[in-house]
Symmetry: C2
Subunit: 380 residues, 2 copies
């Protein structure tokens, strides 16, 4: 038996105000092509299908198209769980109607205990369990047990699942979490503040394979069969050197045999270029990939008029410019200001995160007025 493990599709993501949907569609098409040429028994998606709980309509259409192709046209079962970016209830609409069609959206604790069982001649029966992403509070509330951290939540949920194990079957788990000691990238949204989101990989030892999502860098943790597939594509410039792909997992009668990384190539790579403006522009003619998404770090020490316009004549998809050279000698009061944050500051951070651009002064003012209004409302 062979199945593909993917995660962190983040469909509908914007990056520096650029929609990545066309790139995502091209990569999903690579997955479909791969499966057409190398049949597999299932495709797993370990959470963060969408980039946000209310995804744009064209991201929904893209997912619908891909899943219809896979499940309906090609007959490949797809098993998925919501991640911290997904809205579980939204994602799970119609889940029970779709099961018989081979689309398994595991979004609540009841479904978590009803594995999707697939069988093959070479590996017998494999039971796929999905652990939908939930905050520890939700787990505590659902089971009325003392659960205060992601680690305790995972311990409890893994116990609930392993109790249902049929020893004649192999067992695979999909989970969306941060395994302690694993490597972060800049494009993951923290699950909780202050490090209490870390989960010990030992909870996963009873499983033959654990298909993890959340961290965007492909990696194993603890042993070969506890793995992050990594995200569909690069979602931050800090990932410029990561190799993105999906993980092809092979099982036999004894269970896990091997995992192999199958590369996925985005039409636009995401890269950082550093140097002086003139030098970067001069070298651009020899760059084989001028259409990549670029962060340019200008090392010039003097002010430059409209560097973005100049750069975009050779690199049309420069998305951001940093000028570390210009900061020498400047005060950087940012850190000290962070200690006492107003609502408007926090909203500005959120806006920056969500929109990849800063609030204009007029927008700041408008938000300040709304916050003031809400505070007055609270007092009244």
């Amino acid at each position: 038996m062979k199945f593909l493990h993917t995660s962190d599709w983040h469909l509908g993501r914007q990056f520096h105000n650029v929609s990545l949907l066309d790139d995502q569609a091209a990569i999903l098409n690579q997955i479909v092509q791969y499966i057409a040429e190398h049949p597999v028994d299932a495709l797993l998606i370990a959470g963060d299908i969408y980039d946000r709980s209310v995804p744009p309509a064209n991201a929904i259409e893209l997912l619908d198209h891909v899943l219809t192709t896979l499940c309906q046209d090609m007959g490949v079962p797809v098993i998925m769980i919501p991640g911290n970016h997904d809205g579980a209830a939204r994602l799970a609409f119609g889940a029970r109607h779709m099961r018989d069609a081979g689309l398994h959206i595991i979004a609540n604790f009841e479904q978590m205990l009803e594995p999707v069982v697939l069988s093959s001649n070479d590996a017998g029966e494999v039971a796929f369990y999905g652990m939908p992403y939930h905050d520890p509070e939700v787990v505590r509330h659902a089971y009325q047990e003392a659960v205060h951290s992601h680690d305790e939540a995972h311990q409890l949920l893994c116990e609930k699942i392993t109790k249902t194990f049929d020893p004649s079957q192999h067992h695979v788990l999909l989970s969306h979490c941060f395994v302690d000691g694993a490597m972060e990238s800049e494009s993951e949204r923290p699950l909780s503040i202050g490090g209490s989101d870390r989960v010990n990989h030992e909870h996963f030892l009873p499983f033959d394979y654990v298909a993890l999502g959340h961290l965007h860098q492909p990696q194993k943790k603890g042993r070969d069969s506890i793995r992050y597939s990594g995200s569909l594509m690069k979602y931050s410039f800090s990932e410029q050197h990561q190799k993105k792909g999906m993980t092809l997992v092979t099982f036999d009668q004894q269970g896990f045999v091997s995992s192999e990384s199958i590369p996925l190539i985005s039409p636009h790579d995401m890269r950082i270029i550093e140097g002086e403006l003139e030098e970067i522009i001069a070298k651009a003619a020899d760059d084989p990939r001028p259409n990549d998404y670029l962060l340019v770090r200008l090392t010039d020490k003097h002010a430059i008029l409209d560097p973005m316009e100049k750069l975009r004549q050779v690199y049309p998809n420069v998305l951001h410019i940093e000028k570390p050279g210009m900061l020498i000698g400047m005060d950087q009061p940012v850190a000290s200001q962070r200690l006492k944050r107003s609502e408007v500051d926090m909203f500005a951070d959120f806006f920056q995160e969500a929109q990849q651009s800063e609030l204009t002064p007029a927008q700041s003012e408008a938000i300040a007025a709304v916050v003031q209004e809400l505070k007055q409302g609270d007092r009244e």
Copy 2:
């Protein structure tokens, strides 16, 4: 063959800042109960399933629960189309996976030409066609034909559908539109401005039955078999005297036989009470339904301190107070101002529609700042 025709569920609707979801759940339960006691061959929903294109998660969960009960547990096929309040792409996610499970979401022109065919011993085969709600521009674009109005769009789409007719079958159409001459209520959102949304009922004559949605008052148009079922419940005080329900339609070998209204009763009725404050409060003790949602029209000619607090001691769900008596002699400059509307005015109307409350001065200011900002952005 018997099927139930419903429309305009508007799940997730807020009314004067009160969520109607519990009432909607209770009424949907009446539908399930009715079908449990009086089996039918199908349930139709002629659009406006949700109240808005991005419905709240608990409305999605309610719909999922009801459809799972009907299709999965009770084996009753459900056929639905999006209305002008629904987001067609969002509603249609997974549609192809759900067909075999008996849930038919007809949301595009391709699906429109593939009827859901049900058969029974007493009526033979009945083909159910759904015409998803679309603006005329979308129809024009899809078929590259001169379509400028809802009427022309319906004419074209009905022609496309009737061309696929199998004469051995009976034909039912679901459509979400405003049939010319039908009666409006205050809770419908206009399909387009200035009356160009009206559709001639004659386009529908080739069908044995037409299950209409959009208008909230149950009514027939043109002939007995072209009908609005009306909305699930009252969605404005102007509907206080309407009888809400669903339409039970019976077919035999000759096609349409009869339609019958099956009442649906909301836990809270929606009523208008008029009179002087003291008089209303005195009579309240004898009111058999003190928990209804009320609009109170106070006819007192003098100012009253906090009438809402006084009224809510006897009628806890007073949602709005009007004081026509207080307006005598006051200027009413509203109508003349309507001629020239600013963006802020239009947003204020939208806010009033969506939130059932007026913008505060600070909110108005904040919106004005944002509009100003956007206009500056456009010019730059």
